[in-house]
């Protein structure tokens, strides 16, 4: 989908001058159904800047792409003349082990960063929710996994960022030190912005030591109140969990899983305590179960509907119960799992569900999440489902969100239409 009046030939010439690698877009480059006319693969921040300047000069709408694993998240762009692919920017610039920081390009995969820092017994405390995602994509989608209970999310780990604005200007914020309050924290704005504010080209993160030992204590539950009781028992104790996960298919038996990390003797003791808290039916394992950080839609065929529910911690039982009732009434199978210990649950509805039924689930679950201080977002859905639901729901301070977008991208050329409020 390309806006009328664009001179793609001239744009292509300008882009080629900006960065060697420019190609025609193919259906494989489609961004949620929108095939771009062109794909540019810049290799450095200055090249990204050149590309964005050329795009600005030729009024191209563009969508940044990391590794293309999550490109359907958010809404389809209204226009995508150009995909700016960052996969060539895959260097880990600097791992300063003594300072517990890593500086990396945005196209580098999270897995590669982990490999690099693991050599020094360290980790970037972000879970890889789906294999292959890039640092830029992880930041732009604010992806997080079970470990957020102990380490927070990207916003708690990112200490410096380099971005290229829609007008091609390169800007940095933060720096290479863990403590720094000079200037506005632009990194926070970019996290979760789905490529609509700026293109992230480089990032600096704080790291944590890898634990010497870990254990996962799991216990079954049948009813929502039981899940909440177990989760609260762990949170209110002093066992310092790294993760508190809940997974449940309403109607069946669910699991509360608690990850404990540390030195061997410590983990052993806390495992025993946690088993007491979770009761006789609990069990412990030394290894993470298969698919530990995966979302519930991982491996489902087709285009399942992906939901993200957030809530105040004590709202867990209400959210689980509302999900159960909503899915039952709509006649749909809902698979739930997530960081109950952080107030986050992901939900998957199978491909092919009737859009109106999905919409009813979304509405009902959203009402409950909102009532307990959270929100419900539809991360991904098939086009016919996406058309039937309000993906974002009410967005607080939407006017301010709009004003920020207008200042950064006044011509609406960065992933137009993908974000809240049609931004």
């Amino acid at each position: 989908m390309t806006a009328v009046g664009l001179d793609l030939g001239a744009a292509r010439t300008a882009l080629s001058a900006a960065c060697g690698e420019v190609a025609d877009g193919t259906p494989a480059d489609a961004v949620d159904g929108v095939t771009p006319a062109l794909v540019a693969r810049p290799g450095s921040t200055p090249e990204v800047a050149e590309v964005l300047r050329a795009a600005a000069a030729h009024r191209l709408a563009l969508v940044p792409r990391g590794r293309g694993t999550k490109l359907t998240w958010g809404r389809p762009p209204e226009r995508a003349d150009l995909v700016v692919d960052l996969s060539r920017m895959d260097a880990v610039f600097d791992h300063a082990a003594g300072d517990l920081i890593v500086e990396t390009q945005a196209g580098t995969t999270l897995a590669e960063v982990q490999r690099t820092v693991a050599g020094a017994g360290q980790r970037l405390a972000l879970d890889e929710t789906v294999p292959g995602g890039s640092i830029g994509g992880t930041l732009a989608t604010n992806a997080s996994g079970p470990g957020r209970v102990a380490f927070g999310t990207a916003r708690d780990l990112l200490i410096g960022v380099t971005v290229v604005r829609a007008d091609g200007v390169v800007a940095k914020a933060g720096g290479r030190v863990v403590k720094n309050v000079a200037g506005y924290d632009l990194g926070k704005l970019v996290i979760g912005s789905f490529g609509t504010l700026a293109v992230v080209t480089e990032a600096v993160f704080r790291l944590h030591p890898l634990p010497a030992a870990r254990s996962v204590v799991a216990a079954p539950f049948e009813r929502p109140e039981e899940a909440q009781r177990l989760v609260q028992a762990v949170l209110q104790a002093q066992v310092v969990p790294s993760a508190v996960e809940v997974s449940w298919r309403p109607g069946g038996t669910g699991t509360v899983s608690v990850l404990l990390e540390g030195i061997e003797a410590g983990v052993e003791g806390r495992t025993a305590t946690t088993r007491q808290l979770l009761g006789d039916a609990s069990s412990a394992a030394a290894e993470l179960p298969e698919g530990w950080a995966a979302h519930p839609w991982a491996g489902l065929p087709g285009r399942p509907t992906a939901l993200k529910a957030t809530f105040a911690l004590s709202g867990l039982a209400r959210v689980l119960e509302a999900a159960r009732a909503a899915a039952a009434d709509a006649g749909l199978d809902l698979d739930l799992r997530g960081s109950a210990g952080a107030g986050v649950l992901y939900g998957a509805l199978a491909t092919g569900a009737e859009p109106a039924a999905v919409a009813r689930v979304v509405e009902r679950l959203r009402a409950e999440c909102t009532a307990v201080g959270g929100a419900l977002v539809v991360l991904d859905a098939a086009p016919e489902v996406a058309a039937a639901v309000d993906a974002w729901g009410p967005v607080p301070a939407l006017d301010l969100v709009r004003r920020v977008k207008e200042r950064f991208d006044p011509e609406r050329r960065l992933a137009p239409g993908r974000f809240v409020g049609g931004l």
Partner: protein, 519 residues
């Protein structure tokens, strides 16, 4: 704060209060008695009489914050009791183009709450209700004027505390903490204010009340709260705030270790972190700071030490025990000659007493001093400390070092006697050179005290024009008219201009005159 008021000065190249001509170029019209009169009328209509201060003597009690070197008497002080009242004040300011400055407890060390002679100072000290303490949600909901330590006091009977602990925690406010993204000794392990503020009711510079973030994480839309935290009151005023409560640890152990030199202490710090230990805190003091603390508080730090480390470990009991053994071993390996261990609150308080009173204590060994707040990568610590010592030697200006060693946040205290001619200038020169040293090591000009008015002139040393322009895009989105704490944080006045494609008008007179740049 005894010993700080009046004794402290600044390193900034800016001399005294910023002249109004200079600060007015931030988008608003400058001093305008009619506009102020209109604001006074609106404020008097919206607030009870005793919430509005216009008496000159009383106004003067608000003329500075913790950085007493800069003083400006505000045109008006208001003490709202509710968000609605506060928003009414801001709305009046916005309507009439009058600048406003938020103030919590006024303990800021960078002049962030320095009033405007042509503006309104909005003080939150009457908004001190702790609305909710919810252990089951690990959250508390508090008013902006609530004192930091009071949150912990309210939560600790239920097994929780509020983790960010600036040394000023007995007096500073949650709103001020939010605006400065304040840190504290325990932020090494637990993070800064930004990691612990999850939501805030927020009054925009137009006087609109919006909700940012909330009880639950990851609220949809841009993370505006993340941008507001640390913005030093330049994007609006936070009111009712949702903070995270942290579970009290099972075990806490505090170690005091004496070393012959800062080199040894610095190397021990790096070795502890290198061993995969993340202590709750690692604080360092050098010989001069120890001397001052000893004189002031009789904290019984090891005699003859060239440096001490205060190391605190907390968490699950077995881990703390293990890490403690490791820390002791590492300290010994780095030639610690005296270690003392506190296992109960009283002993712990004694160890911390020396550290926490260090700023004030320095006031006893020097009539005046500058507090710096630079940050360096932790591994650069020994080298930078040596360079500071050389600077001190070559200039004859004494420097005491007290700092958060774990995260490389230095607080060099540059000592001088203002009664001696040229002493203040020499101290400022050394202080500036220390900041340059931090920047050249890839660090920051401020780790927790903020930029305010004091370090605005240093921002271009750390950030390019493009970086600063990009930050100002955020400013322009929130506050296109430049009424929220203008003149702070950014060195160069910028006009926001209209968003392209929206309404257009004649260029601002300052742009037309070439005095400011629109973008």
């Amino acid at each position: 704060m005894s010993g700080m008021h009046g004794t402290e000065t600044t390193a900034g190249p800016v001399e005294g209060p910023v002249p109004p001509e200079e600060t007015s170029a931030t988008g608003e019209a400058g001093s305008n008695p009619e506009a102020m009169a209109a604001v006074v009328r609106a404020v008097e209509a919206a607030l009870p009489p005793d919430s509005v201060v216009s008496d000159h003597i009383r106004l003067r009690t608000y003329e500075c914050d913790g950085l007493a070197h800069y003083r400006v008497t505000p045109a008006l002080v208001v003490l709202p009791e509710t968000t609605e009242q506060l928003a009414a004040v801001v709305r009046a300011c916005s309507e009439h183009g009058v600048p406003f400055v938020a103030r919590g407890s006024g303990t800021g060390l960078s002049g962030g709450a320095l009033p405007r002679a042509d503006g309104v100072l909005v003080v939150t000290s009457r908004m001190r209700t702790i609305h909710e303490v919810r252990p089951e949600d690990q959250r508390a909901v508090v008013d902006p004027g609530v004192i930091n330590l009071d949150v912990t006091h309210a939560a600790s009977p239920r097994g929780y505390y509020y983790a960010p602990d600036p040394s000023s925690q007995q007096i500073c406010s949650i709103g001020g903490n939010l605006a400065e993204n304040s840190g504290g000794a325990h932020c090494l392990k637990y993070g800064f204010t930004t990691n612990h503020v999850l939501g805030a009711e927020f009054v925009t510079p137009q006087g609109d009340v919006v909700q940012l973030g909330g009880m639950a994480p990851d609220s949809p839309g841009y993370d505006l709260l993340g941008a507001v935290v640390g913005s030093e009151g330049t994007l609006g005023i936070a009111t009712r705030t949702i903070v995270k409560l942290t579970r009290l640890p099972q075990e806490v152990r505090t170690v005091l270790a004496g070393f012959a030199s800062t080199d040894d202490a610095g190397a021990a710090t790096s070795a502890i972190i290198g061993a995969g230990i993340v202590p709750a805190a690692i604080e360092m003091m050098d010989a001069l700071a120890i001397e001052a603390a000893e004189a002031a508080t009789k904290c019984d730090y090891p005699a003859g030490a060239g440096a001490v480390l205060v190391i605190e470990l907390d968490g699950a009991a077995v881990e703390v025990e293990h890490e403690f053994a490791e820390v002791e071993r590492i300290c010994q390996e780095h030639h610690a000659f005296a270690t003392r261990v506190a296992t109960d609150p009283a002993e712990r308080a004694l160890i911390w007493k020396g550290r926490k009173s260090a700023f004030a204590a320095v006031g006893r060994i020097s009539p005046d001093y500058i507090v710096q707040d630079g940050v360096i990568p932790r591994t650069a610590l020994p080298g930078v400390l040596r360079s500071i010592a050389e600077l001190s030697e070559s200039s004859g200006v004494r420097v005491a070092n007290v700092f958060h060693a774990g995260d490389g946040n230095l607080h060099p205290l540059v000592l001088f006697d203002d009664a001696v001619e040229g002493a203040a200038e020499a101290a400022e020169e050394v202080s500036g050179a220390i900041l340059d040293l931090c920047i050249s090591h890839g660090g920051s000009i401020t780790g927790e005290h903020g930029v305010g008015i004091d370090k605005a002139a240093y921002m271009p040393k750390m950030f390019s024009d493009e970086d600063l322009d990009t930050m100002q895009l955020v400013r322009c989105a929130f506050d296109p008219d430049g009424v929220a704490n203008p003149g702070k944080v950014f060195p160069t006045p910028r006009l926001c201009g209209e968003v392209p494609g929206r309404k257009k008008g004649a260029p601002h007179p300052l742009v037309a005159a070439g005095k400011a740049e629109a973008f």
